[in-house]
Symmetry: C2
C-alpha cells in the first residue's frame, strides 16, 4: 500500500455514513449484503448510498459483485488491514507505545509489512 492509497482509504473511512457501512457489512462477511437491503437497513436514499459505497470500493475497503439485478457489497478485510498497517508502519513505528501494541500481529495482515524492520516510503 502506497501513500496515496492509504490517504484515499483514510478519507473514505472518515465519514459517519461510511463507517456505518463498514460496521454493517463486517458481520455479513464475504457474502455481503445487497445494496437495497443496506439502503433499507440504514435508511439511506439510493443515490446517497451509491455514492458512499463507490467511495469505499474505490478506496479498496469494499468489494462488489453482481447477482441477478442485485449488487452485493462486502468488506475487503485486506484493504482495511493494509490501511491500519500503513498508519502503524509509516507514521508510528518508532513510537514505543504504539509500536508495542502492534508489533507482532500486524505483520500477518500482508506480506509487505515489516514492522520490525525499518521500511520508510
Amino acid at each position: 500500500m502506497d501513500r496515496s492509497k492509504a490517504l484515499a482509504a483514510l478519507s473514505a473511512l472518515a465519514h459517519e455514513t461510511r463507517l456505518d457501512l463498514i460496521r454493517l457489512l463486517t458481520p455479513a462477511g464475504e457474502d455481503g449484503m445487497a445494496a437495497g437491503q443496506i439502503a433499507e437497513t440504514l435508511g439511506l436514499a439510493g443515490p446517497r448510498l451509491s455514492f458512499h459505497l463507490s467511495a469505499l470500493e474505490q478506496a479498496g475497503l469494499l468489494r462488489s459483485r453482481k447477482v441477478a439485478r442485485n449488487v452485493f457489497y462486502s468488506v475487503d478485510a485486506r484493504g482495511i488491514g493494509a490501511t491500519i498497517a500503513y498508519v502503524l508502519n509509516h507514521c508510528c513505528c518508532d513510537h514505543p507505545e504504539v509500536r508495542a501494541a502492534c508489533t507482532h500481529r500486524v505483520g500477518l495482515l500482508q506480506g509487505e509489512v515489516t514492522l520490525s524492520g525499518t521500511e520508510n516510503t
Copy 2:
C-alpha cells in the same frame, strides 16, 4: 473513545500534510519539535502549518507545550492508538482476518478496549 472523536481523528489523519506532520513528529518523541522547525523542515507557510497542527491537536493526535517563544508539538500516542483501536473494535472486530491481526496487542493501548470481548457502541 467515542464515535465522534474517532471520526474527528480519522478526518484529521486523512490529509497528506497532516500525515507528514505525524510522521515527522513521531521520531521526535515526547519532546516534539518547535513549530518553526517543523515549518522549515516541511517547507510550509506559517498559517498553513498552524491550521494543520491545530486540527491534529483538536483531534487528540498531537499535544503542544509552550517554551519561551516557541511552541513544541509532539504526537499523542494514546490518541493514535485509540483511533486505530476504534476502527478495529467498532468496525472490524468480527472479521476474522483483521481480528486475528490485532487481537492480543491492541488491548494494551488503552484500558477501555476489550478486543476479545463483544463491546459495541
